[in-house]
């Protein structure tokens, strides 16, 4: 069956072994230092997630060839894929997903006067999300937007808490929230490293990607 975009986790990320992963939010900004010693800063652009993956060297060429094929497809204009942070797939207090796996978590409220703040409904009793946990949800249409946010403080019950980056307008209360392997939609940056292949060992591949909302 032909692929449809964004590629699902099963179609791309779950098929690749990843040894090194980088998953960061970048905040483009400029700094001016004044004679008075104060640092003035200004935002130059909005924050998006960026990341890079590295696959391990292997002696199974068939495995790496499959990834090569997917990378070459993703290296086209218009391709995108869903991706989660492989080093942080579960909340800190639920490392196997057994507690939150069956919970139905939704957005309880968003603040119109503060785009950092939100609250959740449906967290299991006594369970807390910790700072650094990732949550995600979808909103909008054509295309569906994938929001991925990181908690800045611990949260439990229906308390309001802060996330980063800022929550974009469009998300609404009641949207289903993913706590386990929350995804974002990403595009591959040009020229992925396919790696070189020797008689026995195929060397590792490196590629980078950046979040896209559309």
């Amino acid at each position: 069956m032909a692929l449809s975009y964004p590629l699902s986790l099963a179609a791309f990320q779950d098929r690749a072994k990843i040894t090194v992963a980088e998953f960061v939010i970048n905040n483009p900004r400029q700094i001016s230092r004044t004679a008075g010693g104060s640092q003035l800063s200004a935002s130059l652009g909005d924050s998006v997630w960026r990341g890079s993956f590295e696959t391990p060297p292997t002696n199974v060429r068939a495995e790496t060839a499959a990834i090569d094929a997917l990378l070459s497809v993703l290296d086209r204009a218009g391709s995108s894929f869903l991706v989660y942070d492989p080093s942080k797939p579960y909340p800190a207090d639920d490392l196997t997903g057994s507690i939150t796996g069956s919970a139905t978590v939704t957005i309880r409220s968003l603040s119109s006067s503060d785009a950092r703040v939100m609250a959740l409904n449906g967290l299991p009793n006594g369970f807390s999300l910790r700072a650094g946990d990732l949550i995600g949800w979808t909103y909008g249409s054509s295309p569906t937007r994938y929001a991925l946010h990181r908690l800045v403080e611990d949260a439990s019950g229906t308390d309001a808490f802060e996330v980063t980056p800022f929550i974009q307008p469009g998300a609404s209360a009641g949207a289903a929230v993913t706590l386990i392997k929350p995804v974002m939609k990403a595009v591959l940056l040009p020229n992925p490293g396919f790696g070189s292949h020797r008689a026995v060992i195929s060397s590792s591949k490196q590629f980078s990607f950046v979040q896209t909302l559309r």
Partner: protein, 229 residues
Amino acid sequence: MRDYGTAVEAHLAATSGVQIRHLVWIQARNRSSGAIESVGFWNGLDARSFTIGGSSRTYTGAGTLLGIAPITGEVGLQVRMQQVSLSGIPPEVLQLIHGYDARLAPIEVHRVFFDPEKGVLIGDPVRVMKGWVDEMPVPTPAEGGTDSVTLTVASASRALTKTLTIKKSDEAQRRISATDRGREYASISGAVGVFWGIKNARAVAPATVVMPVEVGNPSTDPGRGGGRG
């Protein structure tokens, strides 16, 4: 200094850091229907609605607007040419280029302030430029390169360079209102002698343009009177 409103001025006075975005709004003619339609770009993330002048406008983001040259404010009537760069890739920009006739389309640029701490809008967008699209060349980049569509925008003072009545024909007036006969005789005004309340020997037929077959040049018969007398 521009008046950005009290909320923005208080925010700027705090020097806590700024997050400024620009909004570009173009009202171009749709090539297929002839209707004037609007398209907006901004240099923030994703599409977003802003309330400007009481109505909601949707601006598409995610890299459609790459940059705006420094906006100059000066005293006088000089027509300033301002440059606005758009990415040539997003479908909205392609639609503007190919689907709309943006020649001399009105364009407005607003500046909007966000709270860098909370990520929400401060005050209302303030218009910093208004004018017309003057040029919009569409380059194609080399492989692996990037292109940008650089719009040249003439400022609003270009309106003062527009010549007036000579362009106002009966046909133009009737397109505005089919029954408006106010300019019915505009094309022959001044060529016909009109006399009010007196008998005048010169009140004869208007001067006509005669095209002699041999000469091929139009000439006015001087003996027939009329003219501007």
